[in-house]
Amino acid sequence: MAKELFIKRYWKMLKRPTSVALGLILLFGFAAGIIFWGGFNTSMEMSNKEEFCIGCHEMKDNVYEEYKSTIHYSNRSGVRAICSDCHVPKEWGPKMVRKIQASKELWGKIAGTIDTREKFLDHRLEMAEREWARMKANDSQECRNCHNFEFMDYSEQSNRAFTLHEKAQKNGQTCIDCHKGIAHELPDMSHVDGWGG
C-alpha cells in the first residue's frame, strides 16, 4: 500500500516537476553536454595531430620519413599539409566513419602486421590501393580542400599542366587519378591501371 503510494508520488513528481528541478536538470544536462562534446572533440583533434600519427614507428619510419622530402612537407610558401589533412575527411560524418575504420588499424598494430620495413613493403600496394579507392570515391575531397579545379588560374600553369587539367576536368577525372605517390614512395605499379610502361 505504502509502496504504491510512493510510486504514485514519484510518478507525479516526474510528470510535473517543479520549475526549479526542471531548471536544474536542464542546467546539468547542458553542462554535461558541453563537457562531453568538448572532450570528444578534443580527443578527435588530438588523434588528428602529426605527433599522434607518428607516435607509432610504423608510420614514423616509413611513410613519414618519405613524406619529409616532398613538397607537401617543405616548399617555398611554407604551407604544410600534415597526415590528417590528406587522410582524414574534414566533414563530421565521413570523419567519424574514417576514425571508426581506423580502429581496425589498431588491431594491425597489436598483431604487428607491418612492424618491419619488409612487412610494410609487402603490404604497401594493398594499403595504397585502399587509400586511392577512398580518394577516388570522394572525388579527392582532401586534395580539393586546398586545390580546386574551379579556383585554378590556368594562365599561371605551364601549357602541359593546363592542357591536362582542362582535359581531366572535362572527363570527370579526379586528382588522385594522376597524382599518385606525391607524398610517399610508390609500390610496384606494374599492374596498376595506366602505369605499367
Binding site: R160, W195, G197
Partner: protein
C-alpha cells in the same frame, strides 16, 4: 760513401730546391688569384643560391643530332626504381598519347648489342643518366661550342 753521393748530385739537390720554390710561388699566385665564382681561392666562398628548374612550354633546342634532348619540365620527386618508372608513366609508347608527351624513340628498345627488345632496354631505364633538366645558370667561361649547321 754518403758524402760521395752528396757531392756527386748537386744538380739533384738544385732540382728539388727549385721545385719547392716553384710550388711555393704557385701557391702564392693562387692565394692572390680570384675564383671564377668570385672571392679568393683560399677562402671558402659562400655557396651560390640554388637555381630554379627551367620550365619551358615546348622543347629545348638540341645542339648536336645525337644529343639526348633536355628535359623541359620539373622532375621533383619523380620516382625511378624497380617498383616504378615515373618517366615512363608519361613517355612510354602506351601512355604518351594520353599525356601529350613525346614517346621514347626506338633507340630506347635496343640493347647494347643492337638487338631490339620487347620493352625499354635495361641500359635506358634510368633516364636521368642521359636526360637532364636545366637551370638558368650563366656559364663561368664563355662556351664557343657551335651546333652543326643543320641544327643552327
Amino acid at each position: 760513401m754518403s758524402t760521395h753521393l752528396h757531392l756527386k748530385s748537386p744538380s739533384k739537390f738544385l732540382k728539388s730546391f727549385l721545385t719547392v720554390i716553384a710550388v711555393c710561388l704557385s701557391f702564392g699566385a693562387f692565394a692572390d688569384g680570384t675564383s671564377l665564382r668570385g672571392g679568393v681561392l683560399n677562402e671558402e666562398a659562400p655557396a651560390p643560391a640554388l637555381k630554379k628548374i627551367l620550365e619551358t612550354d615546348g622543347n629545348l633546342d638540341r645542339q648536336f643530332v645525337d644529343q639526348p634532348p633536355l628535359i623541359p619540365h620539373d622532375i621533383r620527386g619523380y620516382q625511378v626504381d624497380k617498383n616504378v618508372n615515373k618517366c615512363l608513366s608519361c613517355h612510354s609508347w602506351k601512355n604518351a598519347k594520353k599525356w601529350n608527351a613525346p614517346r621514347i624513340s626506338v633507340t630506347h628498345f635496343k640493347n647494347r648489342d643492337g638487338k631490339v627488345l620487347a620493352d625499354v632496354a635495361p641500359g635506358r631505364y634510368f633516364c636521368l643518366q642521359c636526360h637532364v633538366p636545366q637551370v638558368d645558370a650563366k656559364p663561368l667561361i664563355e662556351n664557343k661550342f657551335k651546333p652543326v649547321e643543320s641544327l643552327d
